[in-house]
């Protein structure tokens, strides 16, 4: 595509080799800038979802975009998830590149027939004649006292489905580079965000950044134990890893970034080195993301494992509204630190994690 405006030039200003300049911005800002850049980059890109235009997004991710790009590029849809997600899918069939916002992952259940029985199936079912270049963005996560129907983490459902790609960035930089990759990708991509990440800040390189889909990242090196996590969980994993460094422990942290495809090599290479692993996840324990990670480690590096792989996940209840119950049900740094010590057979040194 040829540049559509001068503002795009700046996006491509920084040459790739001598690292581009960076700015510290929020995860929200990184998403907003990336959507803007892609709208400028390709006329086939359009945004569609509930309240993304006039309301500027339930979580303000699309702020300013309706004003800049108009109602044909930023489409406010009625409350009809099955209808407008399916409509985006149809548009993608003839070469548009829709970026759908589902207000939260909880509402994707109404559209899931279009996502799983249609978007994920079409290319294979029709013998490769059609591709579906669409992105579905949606935040998951609890901790905001939104109660049982508005606090779920159902990414494992999508991660199970062939034909979908499922991304879950944990930093503003990854949010930018993975969203760009998702929009440029010719397959349906489920892009998992998290309510409690939107205001988190991080360094983001200027200019076009395109991540490689399907790769995990070792975001902190260590030798004693590997914590595997993704999305919001990675921020807690890093917090705990650093906290334990002060206690002389060397914890490695693997950020999955892509749930489907799953980068088993990176996970197993890390555990082969450390011999111990804990998975930290926000979803429910049974049949959650951590089950696949644990099974992968158990099969992939069995001979290198010095201890059982443990999972720190949410209590298996519909999440209650009351703060005390919500706190008890969701996994936090304290539980992660406790389990890491258990796997390392270390008695707690402090009360921090009680």
């Amino acid at each position: 595509m040829t540049p559509k405006s001068t503002s795009e030039a700046s996006l491509e200003a920084a040459p790739v080799d001598d690292g581009p300049a960076t700015r510290v911005i929020t995860y929200r800002q990184a998403l907003n800038e990336t959507l803007r850049a892609e709208l400028l980059h390709d006329d086939n890109v359009f945004l569609i979802g509930e309240e993304i235009g006039v309301f500027e997004g339930s979580y303000k991710i699309t702020a300013g975009l309706l004003t800049e790009f108009g109602p044909d590029r930023v489409v406010d849809a009625p409350i009809a998830e099955e209808g407008f997600v399916g409509a985006a899918l149809g548009a993608a069939m003839i070469g548009m590149r829709p970026v759908v916002e589902i207000m939260t992952i909880n509402f994707s259940l109404i559209a899931i027939d279009q996502i799983v029985n249609h978007a994920a199936k079409m290319r294979s079912m029709f013998g490769g004649q059609v591709s579906v270049p669409m992105v579905i963005r949606m935040p998951g996560g609890g901790g905001q006292q939104l109660a049982a129907t508005h606090s779920q983490n159902l990414e494992v459902w999508f991660a199970h489905i062939p034909g979908l790609k499922v991304l879950a960035p944990s930093t503003p930089a990854d949010a930018k580079a993975l969203l760009t990759a998702a929009i440029r990708d010719d397959d349906p991509v489920i892009f998992i965000e998290n309510l409690s990440l939107y205001s988190s800040k991080g360094e983001v390189p200027d200019g076009e950044q395109i991540a490689e889909i399907g790769k995990a990242a070792v975001v902190k090196e260590g030798t004693d134990l590997t914590i595997v996590s993704y999305s919001r969980g990675t921020t807690t994993a890093l917090e705990v890893a650093h906290q334990l460094t002060a206690e002389g422990l060397s914890i490695e942290v693997v950020d999955l970034r892509s749930l489907r495809p799953l980068d088993r090599e990176t996970i197993c290479a890390s555990v082969r080195k450390t011999g111990r692993a804990v998975v930290f996840e926000d979803d429910w324990l049974s049949y959650g993301i951590g089950a696949e990670i644990s099974a992968t480690i158990g099969e992939g590096v069995f001979d290198f494992l010095d201890a059982p792989v443990r999972r720190v996940a949410a209590a298996e209840v519909p999440l209650p509204y009351a703060k005390a119950l919500e706190l008890a049900a969701l996994p936090h740094a304290a539980e992660l630190a406790k389990v890491v010590r258990e796997v390392l057979n270390i008695a707690p040194l402090d009360k921090l994690d009680k």
Partner: protein, 358 residues
Amino acid sequence: MAAKTRTRTAEVQAFPGDEPQDDLRGYYRDMSFVRAFELRSGEMYARAKIGGYCHLNLGEEATVVGLMAAIQKQDYLFTGYRDHGYALMRDLEPGRVMAELFGRSTGVSGGRGGSMHMYDHEARLFGGYGIVGGQIPPATGVALALKMKETAGPDAAAVMCLLGDGTVNIGAFHESLNLAGLWNLPIVYVIVNNGLGMGTTVEKASAEPDLYKRGASYRIPGVRVDGDDVLAVRDAARTALEQARTLRQPVLLELMCYRLKGHSVVDPARYRSAEDTTIAQKSDPVPVFRAQLIAAGVLDEAAADAIDAAADEQVTAAVDFADASPEPHPDDLFAYVYATPVANAPAELPGDPVMDAL
């Protein structure tokens, strides 16, 4: 928003003589109470006593009170998440409603639901739902069960299912109304048309913005009424419930009202046109009804002030009760996951091992 589609009754009117003055004063007392409760809920949210999402009935008091004046004890009520006023008018203790907002164990849902999920099985307030349209299929199912269990008649139970104007475009609305029309179920679907779904006007959401007309696709009669007129709402709802309980004739009732503030307490509603905001305020049913009653000699300023003051005191008492109530205890986290206990039901806290070592 198309003000033209709305008939306003801001100017003072006389009342039909047969309307008992006590009833009229009672309706004002209720409207004033809902107003006071919602204003205080907003304050409590600002003071972080309430968390999560919090949607208020501000501007919908005539609709709330009119509907609840029509519904009978044996009837079942389903609503969306904008449910505080309905809980109060279904005679749930104000203290327990406020306690639910505070997330206390004395709350109507034990503090587990919060603002969006008020429930009282005895009072037949069957929730409080947060997924748009999610309440419509279960409400229809209660009507199906009623048809299976009871015979139609003047004392039979019926179902009232509330939904918003933005909710009519979701598939569950279509699937459910077709079932109700097909099977002749005793249910009244009430569209509380406050003109907005978050920031989206009816005209931007519905290809047929005269929402009551949508009943035709299911041979369900549709009726539109001024939702700012408590008596009109009450009478229309009574007639509709009557048809449902005696004739098993489902009805689609559309009530035209206004949302006085933002979608939820945290929404400044900047997207809203000045004209629309002015109309909304001009037709605020609480002061309008108060003025009507005073003009009609049913109330005088002093009596009206006394009612407002009493409402405020009641709300204060509710806040005190909520404040004094305990939070649910983490030991009870798993208390309600299953009704029938079974082997191996998970009850681990985060970080617990998946099972005891063998």
